[in-house]
Symmetry: C2
Subunit: 387 residues, 2 copies
DNA sequence: CCACTTTGGCAACGCTGTTGCGAAACCGCA
DNA sequence: TGCGGTTTCGCAACAGCGTTGCCAAAGTGG
């Protein structure tokens, strides 16, 4: 077992953990906010600890008081809410023929978004130029404010390595093989960059945006030019050893089926895309449902989200068809996801570490957002709201 | 998302986390032990912190100094090792027709094991009697020492709920439906009890016993009377929403295949067991490999362990057959597991919380093992080894 | 023999969440 | 209107965590 994955914890880690936890709850609470007592309940911390933590958040400009709640028999609670404009993140979605860039605030709300054509096969320099230009335009559109952009998340089809940010043999585009995308983008954009597979980014975004309700685990199935999946297990995106998890499309469903470009026979992708090409949506949905059922049984999840161009064009039919195969027991919800899951998720790659959702460097993210100043200076008291 | 799954952390949680981490490293180090400096390196804690933690472990009787290492140019390191006999755990494996009970020490080494026939369908009282009797005999065999038995882990086929310890419709044995196994066992045996599915217990045991090397994720495939799997993802057993994860056997591999008792067609279990019944080991291995390949691609794991009676009877042939289907890239290791993985894993269900491997109540476990005395009394200095 | 390296303990320290206590603000009832 | 009860929340003192600074011990190598 890899012990380096479970490091020792010190007081800094403890503080950052709790701060991220509270920030996440505040984000989930939305503009109405949450009271300190409520936060204490949800976290298991004492009210005093929550007061100290929210005090730090207020000093850092990440949270503020937001009016009073109705009393429940005693002193009315003062709501605390996230200040979404305290920081922003950029999401970049690279497709074979298109580039989408978005700028979102801490709550995930979109400040500006642009889509433009792209030739991903044109090579690194051309793509870097295009992305840098679009990022600049999006920032200008959003008001030109250069304040508080925490970083950029980049989502693309893969295969790639999330930890190092290095691309592998992108199908049909050998020029990208071995390209250190993260470092190149970070240098060019002048900000921290996180790279992930498109389906993983989408799945992460769905978690952070509260689109999955109370489900701790779910699968996001994406049917576009290919068929892939993003897996969230126990609240965390499961990427596997080589960021290769989610290879849903090359699941063998028919041992003696038609050959696939991957070398096997009867992959669900081939069967499904054939049905789509024939216009047989019902059969495509049935195949998708069979694959989803395999996945649901293997991982015991109770939510399946559907996305990608093909599925969204007939989301009702696909959802119904998949639901039909899955049956009712155990009860699995099948829901179509939004239109821009991937680019929104790309931006969330940056925000995840702030909100205790398994980002790669929570401490740096919190520091960058104004918490935990590197110099050992203690922040002054925020001053409480008194008459 | 379920925020109750990510609670706030206080100083107690921090101390317990680090203590469990160090205990886990000491267990992995085996009888040769590990030096404080080495522990500091692996945990990322400062040497001083490690000294304090190991001091507490020594006071609690869980660790001791174990001689000197060769010098590397300075003062030679003093090795610290786990004292395995400081505590014990009981593992119970319930099968349809057999009962196995084992008593292991902290290192997982077996002190005594007994197997006896059992009629699982005979109902709760008869089974409780049998288990209690066997547990008493095993304790007697192990020397009669009643000291330091932390609890019992119970592994059985399921379906069941790990968190509550309640059984669901055990296939073919309706009398067990809804039976609160954990609480009934806990009362009868007079000790804490953890219940889990047999394949999950086996997978957990393989992690804790260091049988999986540096792999953070792997699948344990078990082919006995049925076909199931235990999944470890990112170092943690993945149980899913209802402890139902690992339903490998009812993965559809042949859309128009023979009907299965689960209602679908072409489940891998039916296909595979048919091949086994025909004596066609090569075909069974090929089918198993195809299912394993689906799983490996979906989860991006690089280790598959094989267990269960059928597989172990011809482990070489099965491993080779599975390896053949999986191919070499990405490199997936296929290895047969040991004979008693389930009952050993059942005992590890109890030990897991001590060693920072995701047990359900680490604090209680550490307290029970002699650490973190409930009264606020600080433990005295352990006294260092001086001439 | 002496410089150097490495291990590891002691004491003081900074920072964490916790506890004890009290003020503020509201409800409900007399 | 007055008073007790309830709930929220801050201040101050506190215990306990890992960290830092310093030093002793015990080897190696010139």
């Amino acid at each position: 077992m890899n012990r380096t994955l479970a490091p020792g914890a010190n007081l800094t880690a403890l503080r950052d953990h709790n701060a991220a936890l509270v920030l996440g709850l505040l984000r989930d609470a939305g503009p109405d906010g949450a009271s300190r007592a409520e936060l204490a309940d949800r976290t298991g911390l004492t009210p005093q600890a929550v007061s100290k933590i929210t005090g730090r958040l207020r000093v850092a400009g990440l949270a503020a008081e937001a009016g009073r709640r109705a009393s429940t028999g005693g002193k009315p609670a003062t709501a605390l809410r996230l200040l979404p404009e305290a920081a922003h993140a950029i999401g970049v979605h690279l497709e074979r023929d298109a580039l989408t860039v978005t700028l979102v605030d801490l709550s995930g709300a979109e400040a500006a978004t642009r889509t433009s054509p792209l030739d991903l096969g044109a090579g690194a320099e051309a793509v870097l130029d295009a992305v840098a230009a679009e990022v600049a335009r999006v920032r200008a559109e959003a008001g030109g404010s250069l304040l508080g952009v925490l970083g950029a998340g980049v989502a693309l089809p893969g295969p790639l390595d999330h930890r190092t940010g290095v691309l592998q043999r992108v199908t049909g585009m050998p020029r990208w093989d071995g390209f250190p995308l993260r470092d190149a983008f970070a240098e060019r954009l002048g900000m921290p960059v996180v790279v992930d597979k498109d389906t993983n980014a989408a799945a992460l975004g769905l978690v952070l945006r509260g689109c999955v309700g109370a489900a701790g685990s779910f699968a996001y199935l994406h049917l576009g030019t290919g068929l892939g999946a993003g897996l969230v297990l126990g609240g965390e995106v499961h990427r596997g050893a080589r960021t290769g998890a989610g290879e849903f499309g090359h699941q063998v469903l028919q041992l003696d089926g038609p050959p696939c470009r991957c070398g096997n026979r009867g992959c669900i992708e081939v069967l499904c895309l054939d049905a789509v090409a024939r216009g047989d949506t019902a059969e495509a949905a049935r195949l998708l449902g069979t694959g989803a059922a395999n996945l649901v049984r293997l991982l015991d999840i109770d939510l399946v989200l559907l996305g990608g161009g093909v599925l969204l064009n007939a989301s009702g039919a696909y959802a119904a068809g998949v639901r039909d195969v899955l049956g009712g027991a155990p009860p699995v919800a099948v829901v179509p996801a939004g239109e821009r899951t991937v680019v929104e998720g790309a931006a969330e790659l940056v925000l995840a570490s702030l909100f205790g959702r398994g980002g790669r460097d929570r401490h740096r993210a919190l520091e960058q957002a104004g918490l935990a100043a590197p110099s050992g200076l203690t922040a002054p008291s925020p001053g409480t709201s008194r008459p």
